[in-house]
Symmetry: D2
C-alpha cells in the first residue's frame, strides 16, 4: 500500500534558500509530505516558520534533539520517516548521527560533514543503522547528466582522456559577509564551513559531477587556491589540475569571486571516440562531438536518449526542466527506495548519492587544501 | 490562519501529460493539496489513478458530477476548495459550469471551452458565481515574461511597432493519431478540440503571450492555415499576419508539423526605444536591444530586474527555472488570492489569467478560421 | 594560361559601404584586380577615391560612360574584363546595359534594377550579349547555405511543408535620412530605390534565399507593409504570407525599424523527413532536426558535409567564415567561369546568381507592393 | 604617394593551409600584392605554385636564399618590400634572419622560432636591422579582442583577479601523422616543431591572448602535459595553472586530442568591477558581466564600443567578421606602418604583435615543458 513519506526538517527556517529548495524538491512528485521540523535555533522562530508552512505547532521543535526524541515517541502511523538536514556544514553530523541512531533515515545537504573524521564516523553509523542516507548532490539528478553518464558507461565515448570542470559564481566578489548577509557569513567561517570555503560549497559539486559522469575516480590533485576577499581565511577561488585513475588528465576551476557569474557549473569530457559538454545554466542540452559525424545535441525527453535519461523527465521534450526538478529527482529516487523498503520489497539501491559520495567530497577538500599549502604539489585524494 | 487549499481534479488520469503537470505545479509551493478527483471516464480507472496519487478511495469519483455533488456534502473543513479541469477542450465547460454553480472555484486548462458561445456563457457564470476562475496560460508565469511585460508597461521600449510570435512543434509531423496515441487523437477531432486544431492547442498561447506582454489587443488577423497531416480536418499549421490596436504590425507562426521542433514558443517585440526577445525553450534569458547601448541579457533573479519579475523567482540567479515553475506561478497566485478570500481579506485580483483571457483566445481561434476560409482576408478579432 | 581578371567599378567611392565590400570580396581569392573605376559623380572625386585605391589616375573616370568607352579603346591585354556595379538601384541598369553592349561582363549589386521593365530589358541584353552577368545575392555564398541547398536537393528533408524567413534590421528606426546620412537617404527615395524600400534592400535577399535553398518558387504572396518612419513613402517594414509552388506555406518578415537588430537574416525550412535552420549573424552553424535522431549541427568544413558546402570553405573547421568570404564566393565562381571562357574552355555555368534571380526579386517586390495596396490580398509572383 | 606593398613568401606552396591564409589576409585590404615566393623545397614545385597564383615564373624561387638575393638585385621600384614566412617552426629563423640582414621587413608565423636561443638572437637582429617584424598572433586582430583589451586598459573591469583560457582542438585525436598528412607530421616532430607540440602550435596563442587582453604578464606556470597519441614525444594536450604578475590566478587548457573540438580558443577575465568572455568560434560577441547591471553583449561595429574596436571593423554591425578578417588586421596594421615609413613619415608603432611577443611565447613553451618535467612544479616564465 502506497502512502506519502513523512519528512522532518532540520534547519531551513524562513528566509533560508536551501530549506525552501528541499521542501519544493520533496513536494514536486507528491511522494513526500513535510510533517515536522526544527527549523531554527529557537522554538519561537521554529514555530513561526512552521506556521507559514502549514504545520501543526506541536511538531515545530526548538532543537533537532527534541524533534528526534518527540517524533520517536509518536505512533508509527504518524511519526516522520526521515530527516532532511539543510543546516550549515557544522550542523550536518550531529543531527544525522542522532537521527540514524534513533531509527530515522536521512537526506543531508553537502558537503556531508565539517571534517573528514566526521564523515568517516558517519559512514560507520550509516552502515550500522541499516538506514538510508542520501546526499543532495542535486546536479546528478539532471536528465542530461544521466544521459552523459550512460553514454560514458556504455563506452560510446571510448577511453576518457581529458576532463574540464568549472563551477563559477560571483556573489562573494564583494565583502558580502560584512553586510550581515547570513548565507555569506557562515560560508566564510571555518568553524561552520570546515577547512574549505568555495571548495566545500561548490567544489564538491564539481568533483562529484566528474566522478559521477565518468565513473572514474580523481587520483590526485594540484591546487592553487585564492583568498581574494579582504580578510578571508578560507578559499573563495581555486584552480586545480587533476589526474584520473585511468590516466586521463584535466582541470577544475571554482570561484565565488568570478564577478557576474551566477551558477556556472559546467563539464567537458573528451574520449577516444566521442566527447560531451554540459552547462548547468543551460541544462536542457547535452552537446556531443564525434570523430566523423557532426555535433549532436540531446535534449530532455528528446530523440535518441538512453533509458537512464528518459526516466527522470517529467514533461515532454521542449518543456524546460530546471534546478528544482533535478533536485527533486534525488528525493524521488530516495523516496522510491524508502517506500519499497517500507513495503517490504527488496530493491537494488537506486541511483542517488550517498555517504560514500560525501566521503569522496571531504577527501577532495582535504587534498586540495593540502596541495595548496604545499605550493600546489600533486596530492593523492 | 493559513492552511493548504484542497484541490479536486477533473481528468488527468494515469498517463495523462497535463494532469501530472497540474498536480506538480500545484504542489511546488506547498499551498495546495490534492484531495479528490474524477480522473477518468470510469470509477475503476479513476480509483486506480487515485491510489497511485495516495488518495483515499472514497474520494476517487467516476464522474465530475459525482465529485462535485459528493464533495459539496462533505464538511467544510474537509471538502475541496476548488476544481482543476485538465480534460480535452470539449470537457472544459460542463465541469466548470457545474463547479462554479455549486460554489467551487475553478482552475481550467486552455482553450477555455469548445466554442465561443460556451466561453461567453462561462464568463456570465463566473461573474454570477463570484468565484475565482484561473486559466492556465502558464507561460505568463515565467519570470522573464513578467520582466518583459513590466518593461513594456513602464514605457522602456517606447511605442510598440512590430511583433513576431511563433509556437512551433513537430510532434504531429507524422500521422500519430492513427497509432492510437491519445494526445494526438483528441486534438485532431473537432468534436473534442473545437474548430481550431493547433490554433487552440498552441495558437492561443502565442496570442495570449502577445497581448500579455504588450498590453495591446490584436485588432485583426489574416490567416493562412495548413492541414498537412493526411486526412486532417483541423489545422495543424498556420501563418498569420496581425495588426494591433495601436497600429503595430506583426506575424504569428504556429505549427505542429514543424518537424523536429519540440516546444518552440518565442516572441519578439520592437518599440521605438528598445526591443525584447524571449524563447520558451531557453526561458532563463530575456534579450533586450537598445538604440545606443549594447544588447542586455536579463536572467531570473539576476541584476536589474523589476519587482514583477523578481517576486516570481523561487531560487537564486543561475539556478534554471523551467516549465513547471512557471506553471506553478499561476497556481501560486490563484492560491494566494483564494487564501486571502478564505481569510476574509480584501485583495486586488492578482496577476493570473482568467475567463477574459479565455474569451480572447476563443475569438482569436474564430477569427483565424474565418480569415482562412476567406482566403486570408483581414478579419477582426 | 591563368591570369588575374581586371575589374572596373561603377560607384563605390570613398566612404561607400558596399563599394569596399565588393573590392575586398573580389580581392580575397587573388583572382581579380581592380584596374579602373567611375567611383563618384565627378571626375575629381573619382580620382580621389582611385588614388587611395592605388589606381592610376588615368583610369579613374568621371562617368561610367567614359569608363566603358575609354577602356574599350585600350589594348586587350590591359583593359578591364568586367564591370562591377555598386551604385544605388536606379543606377544599375544604365551602366549594365552599356557595359554588356560594349562587350564587358557584369557583376551587379541587387536588386537588379529600378523597375521590373528594366530588369526584363536587361535579361534580353544579357542574352543577346553572350556576356556573363552575376548578381551579388551574397548570402547564397555561405558554406552553410550551400549545405542547406544540397540537403534539400538530395531529398534529405523530404517534401518541404513550411518555410519561415526573416531579415531584420533596426538602423532606420529613427529618421536617419534626415541627418544627411547618404545610405539612408537614397534608400527611402523612390526615384533611387524603386517601388520597394526595405523590400528591395533586404526583402529580395530573403526571397532569394528561400528559393535558392528550397529549389522552389514562391507562387503567391499576401503582404502587409509598414511605413513607420515619419514621412516615409516607401516600406520600412513588412510581414508577408507565402505559398510555394509545391503547396508549402510560410512567412517572411522584413524590417529596417526592428530596433536593435543588426543584420538578422534567418531561415527555417521544415520537411517531412527533416528540417533546417540558419542564421546569417551566426553563419558557421547549420541546425538540422530529424524525426527520430537528435539535432545535428553542421559547421563549415566540419564533419558530414556535402561537397557543395566543402568546396566553398577556404579555411579549416572552427575558423569562422564571415560576410566577406560568402560575398567573395560569388566573385570566385564568377571569376572561375569567366577565366574558363577566356581560356576557351567549355564549362557549365557555375553556381552564382544571375539576371534570372534579379527578375525573381523584382517580381517579388512588385507582388508585395500590389498585395499591400489591395489590403494584403493574395497576389501571384 | 601611396602604393601597394610588395610581398615575397617563404613556404605556403599549393595545399598549404597557412600559406593561403596569409595570402588572403594580405589581399583583403588592397594594400599588399604578392610578387614573388619560395613556396616549396624545389624550384619546380615553387614555380607550379607560383603559376596558380598568377606570378611571373622568374620570381618563383627554389629557395629563400635565392629569393632574397635575387630580389635584392631587382630595381627598388619592383623588388619585394617584405617577406612573409609561413613555413614550419624550424624554418622561421633562417629566412627571417637573412631577410632582415638584407634589408627586408618580415612578417612571420608563430611560434617565432624553433628555440628560445633563436628567438633571442632574432630579437637582436631585428633591432640591429631597423626593419619591421610582425608576428601573426592573428586572434589579437579580432574586433572583440580589441574591445576587451581596451576595457581592461581603461580600468572598466577593475583589478583582474581570475583568468581562464583554453585552446582546444581534436584533429590529432587519432594518429593522423601516420597517414601521411603533412600538417600533422611536422607538428609532432621535435626537429621541426621544437620542444613544444600543442604548446607551440596553439598554446602560444592562448598565452599571447591572455597577456594581450589583460596587459599583464604571466609570472609563473605549473603544467601537466599529456602525450596521448601513440608514440608521440611532444605534448598534444596540456593543463596549466598560472599566476599573473599582479596576483591574479588562473588556468590554461590546451589540447589537440580534445575530440570533436574544431578551433575552440576562448578566454574569460574576471575583475573587481566587471568580467568578460570571448570565444573565437563565435567571435562576433563579447560577453561582459557586471556587479549590478545585467550582462551586456558587444558586437563588432555595434553600440557602445571603444575606438580601438571600431577602427578594425570593415563592415557594419551584424555582418559577421571571421578568422581571415582578424588575420588581415595584423597585415593591415603592419602595412600601414610600413607605408608610413616608406613615405618618410614618423609614426608610432602600431598595434600588431612583434618579436617581443615571440619571445614571450618561447619562454612560455620552455617554462611549461620544464614545469611538466618537474611534476608540475611552479616555474617562472
Amino acid at each position: 500500500m502506497s502512502r506519502k513519506l513523512r519528512m522532518g526538517m532540520v534547519g531551513g527556517g524562513t528566509g533560508s534558500f536551501i530549506g525552501d529548495v528541499h521542501r519544493r524538491a520533496a513536494a514536486i512528485d507528491g511522494m513526500i509530505e513535510l510533517v515536522c521540523g526544527a527549523f531554527s535555533s529557537t522554538a519561537e522562530k521554529s514555530i513561526a516558520s512552521g506556521i507559514t508552512l502549514n504545520l501543526e505547532e506541536s511538531r515545530c521543535y526548538g532543537t533537532f534533539e527534541e524533534m528526534i526524541q518527540k517524533e520517536k515517541e509518536l505512533p508509527e502511523a504518524i511519526r516522520m520517516d526521515f530527516v532532511a538536514i539543510v543546516t550549515p556544514n557544522h550542523m550536518h553530523f550531529p543531527p544525522a548521527k542522532m537521527a540514524l541512531e534513533n531509527g530515522f533515515h536521512v537526506v543531508c545537504d553537502k558537503p556531508v560533514a565539517l571534517t573528514l573524521e566526521e564523515a568517516e564516523a558517519l559512514q560507520n553509523i550509516v552502515e550500522k543503522s541499516g538506514k538510508l542516507f542520501a546526499l543532495t548532490h542535486n546536479y546528478t539528478g539532471n536528465s542530461m547528466v544521466k544521459q552523459a553518464k550512460a553514454m560514458v558507461a556504455k563506452g560510446e565515448l571510448g577511453k576518457i582522456r581529458k576532463i574540464q570542470a568549472q563551477y563559477l559564481q560571483g556573489w562573494l566578489s564583494t565583502s558580502l559577509e560584512k553586510t550581515g548577509q547570513k548565507q555569506a557569513a557562515w560560508r566564510i567561517d571555518p568553524k561552520k564551513s570546515g577547512i574549505g570555503g568555495a571548495l566545500g560549497d561548490i567544489g564538491t559539486h564539481a568533483e562529484n559531477l566528474i566522478e559521477y559522469i565518468t565513473g572514474l575516480k580523481i587520483e590526485e590533485i594540484a591546487a592553487d587556491l585564492g583568498k581574494f576577499g579582504e580578510g578571508r581565511i578560507l578559499d573563495d577561488d581555486g584552480n586545480m589540475l587533476i589526474r584520473m585513475e585511468n590516466g586521463a588528465k584535466g582541470s577544475i576551476s571554482i570561484s565565488q569571486i568570478a564577478l557576474g557569474e551566477e551558477n556556472n557549473l559546467a563539464i567537458k569530457v573528451y574520449g577516444t571516440k566521442g566527447s560531451l559538454e554540459w552547462h548547468q545554466e543551460n541544462p536542457n542540452e547535452l552537446i556531443t562531438r564525434w570523430l566523423e559525424a557532426p555535433k549532436k545535441i540531446f535534449t530532455p525527453n528528446g530523440n535518441g536518449l538512453h533509458e537512464e535519461a528518459l526516466e527522470v523527465s517529467r514533461i515532454p521534450a521542449g518543456h524546460p526542466e530546471g534546478y528544482l526538478e533535478a533536485f527533486a529527482t534525488i528525493y524521488k529516487k530516495f523516496a522510491t527506495h524508502l517506500s519499497a523498503i517500507n513495503n517490504g520489497e527488496t530493491i537494488e539501491k537506486l541511483d542517488y548519492p550517498t555517504v560514500e559520495d560525501g566521503i569522496r567530497g571531504m577527501k577532495f577538500i582535504y587534498a586540495a587544501v593540502e596541495s595548496d599549502s604545499n605550493n600546489s604539489a600533486w596530492t593523492k585524494i
